[in-house]
Amino acid sequence: MENDTNQDSSRRKFLKNLSAGSMITLTGMACTSVSCKQNSGEKTTLMTTDGKLVQVSNSEIEAMEHQHHPATPAEAREGIPGKKFVMVVDLAKCKNAKKCVEACDHTHNLTPDRPYIKVLEMQDNEKSAPYWMPKKCFQCDNPPCVKVCPVGATYKRTDGIVLVDNERCIGCRFCMAACPYSARVFNWGEPPREDENIPYSPETSVPSKIGTVGKCDFCPDMLRQNKLPHCVTSCPNGVIYFGDEIDDTVTNGVETVRLSTLLKEKAGYRYMEELGTKPRVYYLPPVDRLFPFEKDTELNSES
């Protein structure tokens, strides 16, 4: 029984590799075998993910659905190919409904005292009006946290996302000290345990582990399924736009717009540009607001 499952999973593994197109020369052959499904006993030589050459009888090769198991810590180190994820937060639309925080806490199994997203009350100076600023990890292109991590537990991916591998993290909290945006939270005690049996993935950030760091991850598990992060879809006011810098498109789930046009027309900026951390999260200034600034949060969350 156990052997069977092993075989099954390794087959899945190499087919996944195949579908990723890393074996261009062999794909043609494999595909014909798939479509023919001969029982002739002919074998095809394929390469596994760890670089071994294996022979598989053609009858064994099957096409499969794209699998959605969460990426392992090793797989999660590679970004999603051809993507550069980017977020735009429209401060004019935020009224502190906190639905993004709720959705994020729920998906990542977070307690209210260690949220990945915070909605901050900001006021630039005495004369200017206060506004709400949803803040998450800025996924910097020049990330101070990654520079100081002594063990490579936090890393930058090709798709722009900065992730934490909480199976490697030693809990020194240097990354938290280095982050100028206080984006990271720490599991000071034992985190809630309902998600204990879920296989850990840095792309889902669950389950959290005691003595390690966590933070907003841009929900790469959703992105792999071509879905939007939970904070984007849960926002009742379309505050958060998410998309790909290479495609130059972002969407808040309702409208899809050109990133460059949006930033140009609404004077998009990045928080504390002068630090040189190059955040991947842009803000649109709180002008022509949809809602008055209201401190009573209960009123705000009624959407």
Partner: protein
């Protein structure tokens, strides 16, 4: 010969008296309490501390910085005074070497107490990334431990031989151990030449290694975008602070040992006067860097830095800030400028002020900065806006300090705190004996 015998009698290790036993007993009690607290911390996680997402480092880190600073006394006295040919150093170097070794061992130990996952300590080697200042620490701290050990051990070899001989009849068991650790030291010309050369190399190395250790410690802070840490002044500021903290610790320990072991003939007012002048000089240098660190930024402070400086000068941290500046630096400096202030008793008080001031100074460097981030602290419990160590943190930190004192105490118990051989040579007692042995 009579002089030489008195010398050995005065300087050779002695059993603990009643006071010594009580002292060790108390230290062990504090250590046990700390071990229990640490076991609890391992079981429950760092939640037993008052550290939270904003005050993410606390007294474990500031205590670590304190140990690193006091460990500089070896480089400061042994190496610097040796290279500048200051003869008066002889009766205090061994104590300085002992403090250095005890401090640097405890520094290495303390940093692990702060880790969220001490079980993954090996990741620092398996997955080491060279661009992280913590990796630099992982390299420099063991280097310093080895160097400090050699700095204590090599000059000790002739003394171990002396002790082996001295205890041969009265305590044969102990004598055997001294013989073993003495590595068959015979005092031949060849051995002496190797020993002298080695000590010289160690002394020369102690300066760059000491400076690197202090600087890397400073860089742990200045490589972040934090107000109050992100300063190019930090490396030099930490080195100058380490001179002060290290000498303060040395003076305090020297006074206590001199009093307990009745070494007034060996460590005289002259030595205290010299140490006092040395400490005054280092205080002046430290004052200079403090002005650079806290006064000059007032002129160009951006909003966040102004909030930080205000909290130090008038606000929440004003008490501790001014305590560390006045009691830990300014008052000692003023007292030391007077000849009467450099008498042993006055110096003991000054030493204590400096040590306590230095410990709190590191607290003032670590904590307030973390509570003054760029973005407002919101959406977390009110208590997270402030930090004061929990009972667990105090117990564990006290245990590390007690352990450092215990290491020092045990070295003092089993080693001659003043180099016997060198003192004898300097006083001219040894010429006859040497000749007798060589013939």
């Amino acid at each position: 010969m009579k002089n030489y015998d008195t010398l050995i009698n005065d300087l050779a290790p002695r059993k603990f008296g009643r006071r010594g036993t009580i002292w060790v007993f108390l230290l062990v009690l504090v250590i046990i309490a700390g071990v229990i607290a640490y076991i609890d911390q391992i079981r429950k996680g760092l939640v037993v501390t008052n550290l939270r997402d904003y005050a993410l480092w606390g007294i474990y880190i500031s205590n670590f910085v304190f140990f690193v600073a006091t460990s500089f006394v070896g480089s400061a006295t042994v190496a610097v005074l040796r290279l500048t040919k200051n003869k008066w150093r002889t009766p205090v170097v061994r104590i300085a070497e002992i403090i250095t070794l005890a401090s640097i061992i405890m520094a290495g130990f303390t940093i692990v107490l702060d880790m969220g996952r001490p079980d993954r300590l090996m990741n620092l080697f398996i997955h080491a990334r060279l661009q992280s200042p913590i990796t630099w620490d992982v390299i420099i701290i063991p280097t310093s431990i080895v160097l400090s050990f050699l700095m204590l051990y090599f000059p000790l070899l002739p003394d171990l031989k002396v002790l082996k001989k001295a205890f041969a009849k009265s305590r044969p068991g102990l004598s055997k151990w001294y013989g073993k650790f003495g590595l068959n030291w015979s005092g031949s010309k060849k051995q002496k030449a190797i020993q002298q050369k080695s000590i010289k190399i160690i002394a020369v190395m102690a300066i760059p290694v000491g400076i690197m250790l202090q600087t890397i410690d400073a860089w742990l802070f200045s490589t972040t975008y934090r107000v109050g840490w992100d300063s190019t002044n930090m490396g030099a500021y930490f080195i100058s602070g380490a001179f002060v903290a290290g000498l303060g610790a040395l003076i305090t320990v020297v006074f206590v040992i001199r009093y307990v072991r009745k070494l007034e003939h060996y460590i005289t007012e002259y030595h205290f006067d010299k140490l006092g002048k040395f400490l005054a000089l280092t205080c002046l240098v430290y004052l200079y860097f403090n002005i650079n660190e806290y006064v000059i930024p007032i002129f160009t402070a951006p909003v966040e830095e102004e909030i930080h400086l205000n909290a130090l000068i008038y606000g929440e941290y004003a008490g501790l800030f001014w305590f560390s500046q006045v009691v830990g630096l300014l008052l000692p400096l003023i007292i030391l400028l007077f000849k009467a202030g450099r008498k042993p008793r006055a110096m003991f008080i000054v030493g204590l002020m400096v040590v306590i001031g230095s410990w709190w100074k590191r607290y003032v460097i670590v904590t307030p900065t973390l509570l003054h981030p760029f973005l407002p602290i919101e959406g977390v419990p009110e208590s997270w806006q402030h930090y004061f160590p929990s009972v667990h943190e105090w117990l564990i930190t006290s245990a590390t300090l007690a352990m450092a004192l215990l290491i020092i105490t045990l070295f003092v118990r089993y080693l001659p705190v003043i180099p016997i051989q060198r003192t004898a040579e300097e006083k001219g007692y040894l010429t006859k004996i040497d000749k007798k042995e060589e013939s």
